[in-house]
Symmetry: C2
Subunit: 342 residues, 2 copies
């Protein structure tokens, strides 16, 4: 294992000074075409790469983004992976890397990343309303981007999906389809620690929209598990008469399977709408109409703001909400244009 080449080696071979090598790399100073070529050739020849530690020490920048991942989350693994991958991609697009921390390290992990100067900024997923890590985050000394909304966002940078808009879209769609009853098959109580505020945000907007459109809203907490789903569906569909529109916020596959067990076909016997990712909606046997929570969009937004901060520019504000959009698929009838316009 030969010694790793340094910028001094590059300088020697190119016949320039070490600082010139540095300036060629950073572009912080105009360099003549001839010198640049000399340096670049030398770098190629040595397959030179700058030493990250030395660079961090001198520049006070690590080019690393810390990412706190809630592995134990109840949220589906696919969604998590999508977040993480998209963050990694966005980081690489700006020549940054991603350092992983598990959420169950809690506050200690954040303080280590910041205190040891392991990263320039942090991204934290699955923020709860009264997240115990928030006070630590404020005192951290490195910018932090939160995915989710804590109760008090003062001085923080938060990005989240617009769950209120999502609820409104779903309820409007049900109303446009002529339903006067909507059953929400919702997250189990205590979902994701019970302190995640998108549940009440979604519910509040759903109730407001239902009231405005004059539809009756039935909210059913559906703990996971086959029996729970069957019980909920029995309550919702067992009464006879025309079934209400169904809005499913979680465990979509289980609900679809439950409908199948009852012989109820989405799109034909019942209008099924969901809050889910596009991937999940399209993976079902009958693709499901619904609003996508857009994990990748959220991640991109997070990283855009993160780099805005690192660039020293003004951030877009404390809270950014990623807009919701409804995609119609086969699990529901589609409102006639006239109805949709009304």
């Amino acid at each position: 294992m030969a010694r790793v080449p340094t910028s001094k080696d590059v300088a020697r071979i190119a016949g320039v000074s070490q600082s010139t090598v540095s300036y060629v790399m950073s572009g912080k100073r105009p360099i003549s075409a001839r010198t640049r070529r000399l340096v670049e050739d030398a770098m190629q020849q040595l397959t030179y790469q700058p030493h990250a530690g030395a660079r961090a020490l001198a520049s006070q920048r690590t080019n690393v983004v810390g990412l706190v991942v809630p592995f134990r989350s109840e949220v589906n693994a696919h969604g998590l992976m999508a977040f993480v991958e998209e963050i990694a991609l966005a980081a690489r697009a700006r020549d940054h890397d991603v350092l992983l921390v598990t959420a169950d390290e809690g506050t200690a992990g954040l303080q280590r990343l910041a205190g040891r100067s392991l990263c320039d900024a942090l991204v934290m997923m699955e923020i709860s309303t009264h997240d115990e890590r928030i006070p630590a985050v404020r005192a951290l000394g490195v910018p932090a981007l939160l995915i989710g909304l804590p109760a008090d966002t003062t001085g923080l940078h938060c990005v989240d999906f617009d769950f209120e808009a999502a609820a409104t879209l779903l309820l409007e769609e049900a109303a446009d389809l002529g339903h006067d009853r909507v059953a929400v098959l919702a997250w189990p109580p205590g979902f994701a620690g019970g302190d995640i505020n998108y549940v009440p945000r979604f519910r509040g907007a759903a109730e407001a929209t239902a009231a405005r459109r004059g539809v009756a809203l039935d909210w059913h907490d559906v703990p996971r598990g086959r029996e729970d789903v069957d019980r909920a569906l029995e309550r919702v569909l067992g009464a006879g008469g025309p079934p209400p529109a169904l809005v499913c916020t979680s465990f979509l596959s289980e609900v679809v399977a439950g409908l199948q067990r009852r012989g109820v076909r989405p799109g034909t016997d019942v209008d099924l709408l969901a809050l889910t990712t596009d991937a999940e909606a399209e993976a079902e046997e009958v693709p499901v109409t619904g609003v996508s929570t857009q994990p990748r969009d959220v991640s991109r937004r997070v990283m855009r703001t993160l780099f805005t901060l690192l660039d020293g520019a003004a951030p877009p504000g404390e809270v950014e909400l990623v807009p919701a959009a409804l995609t119609r698929r086969a699990s529901s009838r589609h409102p006639r244009p006239a109805a949709a316009a009304g």
Copy 2:
């Protein structure tokens, strides 16, 4: 944002020299109890943490493990997360952190991590038989741990689950249950890029065991999707007569759903065995008998060997296989002790 304290600050407050602070931290030199207390108190008071870059520069050690994650993998997201989490936990247990790289950066990612001295060692998941990254890995300059077996393991460190033992256990179990026919519902052709060698390893051992026990083995490639599963089950179960034992290697949920559609109850109407994780086996409506691929065990083994290497000790050899074990659950009958002993 006050300046981050340095070891010089600690030294000044403790009334000792900077090197003493360093030795207190590393333990590489005996320190009197009194001095140690002084230093530790000062560190606490300042909430001092060593600067990672400076430490890496001086010590030639980053205390970071690079992890190459195949986000686009067809392998289920839960398994991936389990690998990653376990690696992160093991790293933390030795005061190391984990730097994430996406597999689709290919060779460039590895060379960056090594060339920039971003990490002390690498872990790569989902190694294929003729993995294009292997040549680069050999020339990397930092130890690399591979999860999976390439064709030529010379000079490498590989850990994988023992898929051959798994196949043997599953076929033995079927034979012990008195079956003379076994149908394997196997990975779709081209699964995970088509160059993953645990498929032929599993198949070879399955065929050998079947031959030895005198049972007929039917191998069915089952691409994902409901129709594919239904077609395979029709081929396997449609002929009438006593059904063969079923061994499922992937897409277990889909297969269980398919059986349900046919009104076939695992454990009663058919013996269903699977190669899967324990979590998945137990998540099914009828818990599934089978061999767990033990992603967490594999990760722990990887990290054990990784730190053995970093400690400069002798590694256990080029290839380590994590042993397979069969767990009986409700999806299959259980062989009588006499039969099991035979």
